[in-house]
């Protein structure tokens, strides 16, 4: 038998692949063979570690040494020094951004220290294309347990007691939903996994599917047994080719060894899973639209009731849950509802995976217990704001969510507390913004998105979001009128109350929450025709401060001769001539020109 003394894990999630991890893998393979180490060192391509900012990531076990931003040319060093001579390659270690201290060990890195990785436990640690590795870490034990020891009702009861709520955004109690589908009359029922992760700024579902696909399949099979379904569909975005590939492999492997298919583990329970590729429509994340899309129709939502639990796919009772929800199920079964319910807050149990992005040092995925504060997520896990800029707001919940200001950073994050302050959990995207982001422009950005994704079925969403967008556009272009803010508020309230589906009902949230916490920015745009963040191009004005040494570089660079002044004294910009191109700002060697 071969004796493997070291495992080298290379992240092959989408983030690391685009930073060059495939090349690193090939180079490692070549170098190990060249050195004759290929029999004793095993290379493993894993799923996402969630620390995409630092990719490509390479981890060497048994030491657990964590190398970041590894490139092809670093491979020789890793093989010759670390794997051959046992010397850690210091220059590739992670450096703490503030103290600049090097941290060799995976578990000591602040990004991971505060996390509680349950759903993401295997991501980055196993080969997602090998079912044996999932099984070795207790995979499919939950399925075995429910099939041999539990009645379907007991499974539902266990999920209810655990307090698991839908991770797709709504936060509906999962056990309750399963119960409705189980008790709905009908012989044929379906399980559907919503993997149409369309929220801009969210990529946790992608990482779970790419890094640990079997966990989701097992969760679906447990659900199938509990509600009495023998068929499941996973609806995946076509923009996620790697997730689709790994899911296909996972389903095939599970079929081959009898963990999916007919008479699973001799229990008489049949369950198969099919993949449906989405075709690019955000609204398909809404459950009734998603079902229409699986049926081959335009993905337009329909009024509920009847809920899918009663009449779903092809009119049959259907249970729809999100990827992360299903991924939570196996551990609830194996470790028990009591264990699970002990994590989190009163109303929100377990953990939540957040996608940290935007103006933050550590972008990536962070799984934390419910109830942790936003400040801990942003500053301790996320490492704070880069380039010495000031925190301004965090946007949570994608186009359906809201922006939270500095004073709400100590808010414990759970479903209910977020709703109270005008945001929502959504899928868990956290986009951090610093002082250079204009909140009116951001609201306009989200509305542009929902407006173009509106399916057009109901008038409030189709027409209402368009009118709101027109108002926001004119505000950012300096054409805002007195009364626009009030008009936006009225329209937002009406759209929320009357739109047909979740997309329309939540579309005004980014406008309402920015109006609530950053009203002064709207007022500055409308009354003073100024963009305080200096982000709205048509409102930006340039001014020369007293830092000016009178070098006249700006004067020479200005394409419209708007700058006047004599050498060695402070220059001036004629605002009527200025075309706001920004050339002077880039030319000034003394940082004397400011925008705003």
């Amino acid at each position: 038998m071969e004796h493997i003394r070291s495992h080298v894990l290379i992240c092959s999630g989408t983030g690391c692949v685009s930073s060059g991890s495939k090349k690193v893998h090939a180079a490692l393979q070549e170098k190990l063979a060249q050195k004759g180490l290929d029999k004793e060192v095993k290379l493993v391509e894993t799923g996402c570690h969630g620390f995409c900012e630092m990719g490509p990531l390479v981890i060497v076990y048994p030491e657990g040494v964590f190398y970041v931003r590894v490139q092809e040319e670093d491979v020789t060093d890793i093989v010759e020094n670390h794997l051959y001579k046992g010397r850690i390659v210091e220059r590739l270690l992670y450096k703490e951004p503030i103290s600049l201290e090097k941290v060799p060990n995976y578990s000591d890195i602040p990004f991971y220290k505060k996390q509680m990785r349950m759903v993401l436990a295997n991501c980055g640690h196993i080969d997602p294309e090998a079912i044996e590795e999932y099984i070795a870490l207790d995979g499919y034990q939950a399925l075995g347990q429910v099939l041999s020891e539990m009645k379907p009702e007991e499974v539902i009861e266990e999920v209810k007691k655990a307090g698991l709520r839908g991770r797709g955004g709504g936060g509906f109690p999962t056990g309750l939903k399963w119960g409705f589908t189980r008790s709905a009359p009908g012989d044929k029922k379906y399980v559907v996994c919503n993997a149409d992760e369309g929220d801009p700024g969210a990529f946790m579902d992608r990482s779970v599917l790419e890094g640990d696909p079997h966990r989701v399949i097992e969760g679906m099979a447990v659900c199938g047994y509990a509600i009495g379904a023998d068929e499941g569909y996973i609806y995946v975005r076509a923009e996620y080719p790697l997730a689709i590939k790994r899911l296909k492999i996972a389903i095939k492997q599970a079929m081959e060894i009898g963990l999916l298919g007919e008479n699973i583990l001799g229990s008489g329970f049949n369950f198969k899973v099919k993949i449906k590729e989405g075709a690019g429509a955000f609204v398909c994340g809404e459950e009734t639209a998603l079902l229409a899309s699986i049926e081959g129709k335009r993905g337009m939502p329909r009024p509920r009731p009847p809920f899918p639990a009663v009449s779903g796919l092809w009119g049959k009772p259907t249970n729809i849950n999100n990827v992360e929800t299903f991924a939570n199920v196996p551990q609830i079964i194996t470790k028990g509802s009591e264990w699970y319910a002990a994590i989190g807050t009163e109303g929100s149990k377990g953990t939540k995976v957040f996608a940290l992005t935007g103006r933050i040092n550590h972008t990536g995925l962070a799984e934390v217990p419910m109830g942790i504060t936003m400040r801990e997520i942003i500053y301790e896990i996320g490492g704070g704001i880069p380039n010495g800029k000031k925190f301004k707001a965090v946007q949570i919940g994608g186009p359906s969510g809201g922006c939270l200001p500095e004073q709400l950073l100590d808010l414990p994050v759970d479903y209910d507390s977020l709703i109270k302050v005008g945001a929502m959990m959504g899928s868990g995207g956290l986009v951090v913004m610093d002082e250079t982001t204009c909140m009116v422009d951001l609201a306009k950005f989200f509305l542009t998105f929902t407006q173009s994704e509106s399916c057009g079925k109901c008038t409030p969403c189709r027409e209402g979001t368009k009118r709101m967008l027109e108002i926001l556009t004119r505000i950012t272009e300096g054409q805002g009128r007195v009364g626009d803010i009030e008009l936006l508020e009225t329209m937002a309230r009406n759209i929320k109350a009357t739109a047909l589906c979740g997309l329309g009902q939540t579309a005004p949230n980014p406008v309402l929450s920015t109006l609530k916490y950053f009203r002064h920015e709207y007022e500055a745009h409308i009354n003073d025709k100024k963009c305080p963040a200096g982000a709205c191009a048509k409102l930006a004005g340039y001014n020369i401060t007293d830092l000016c040494k009178g070098c006249s570089l700006c004067k020479k660079a200005c394409p419209v001769d708007a700058i006047t002044g004599v050498v060695k004294s402070q220059h001036e910009i004629d605002q009527t001539k200025c075309i706001k191109c920004g050339t002077c700002l880039t030319k000034c060697p003394f940082k004397a020109i400011i925008k705003g």
């Binding site: 990719g55 801009p200 969210a202 990529f203 076509a238 923009e239 075709a279 129709k297 992005t357 972008t363």
Partner: protein
């Protein structure tokens, strides 16, 4: 309905051999329209009127209904597309990290606007709401390759690889 091939093969091959294979694969599948359209598009590059008509006839679905589906989803295209598809992400994370400037740099480089195809049919430029690679923002995809941590200055170098 005429299914005659409009390419330069001179009628030697049946233009729809590939399409027939796709259609027979999904013959007994419920809700197969979208997968059929997806595979037809990947076989022919886009959904030409003849292709849509042929699918309508074989699947017994009105052309109007297929047209409704095709125009609903952003993935489907009724016009020829470039050899290389560029998708510049306009998601939130990319937006706050300067996606607008990236799009402009690509537009300037290719001398086309988003949604257009270069006259030599080498590039089609599109925007996408989110590629889910937010950790590397700003991002764009060229075909199946994801390029992250983009700067406007670095765009030419990336695009030159596909020229």
């Amino acid at each position: 309905m005429s299914n005659q091939c409009k390419c330069n093969c001179g009628g030697k091959s049946n233009a729809f051999t590939q399409l027939d294979e796709i259609l027979s694969k999904y013959q007994n599948t419920k809700g197969a329209l979208i997968p059929v359209l997806q595979e037809a598009q990947s076989a022919y590059g886009y959904l030409a009127r003849e292709v849509v008509d042929y699918i309508a006839e074989k699947m017994n679905i009105p052309v109007s209904q297929i047209y409704g589906v095709v125009t609903f989803y952003s993935q489907f295209h009724l016009n020829p597309r470039g050899k290389n598809i560029i998708r510049v992400c306009q998601g939130t994370a990319c937006h706050v990290r300067g996606a607008k400037a990236i799009l402009k740099a690509v537009e300037d480089n290719l001398k086309i606007a988003a949604g257009e195809t270069t006259s030599d049919l080498n590039f089609t430029l599109e925007t996408v709401a989110c590629l889910g690679a937010c950790g590397l923002a700003p991002v764009m995809m060229v075909n199946d390759d994801t390029h992250g941590r983009l700067t406007p200055e670095g765009i030419t170098e990336i695009l030159d690889k596909y020229r």
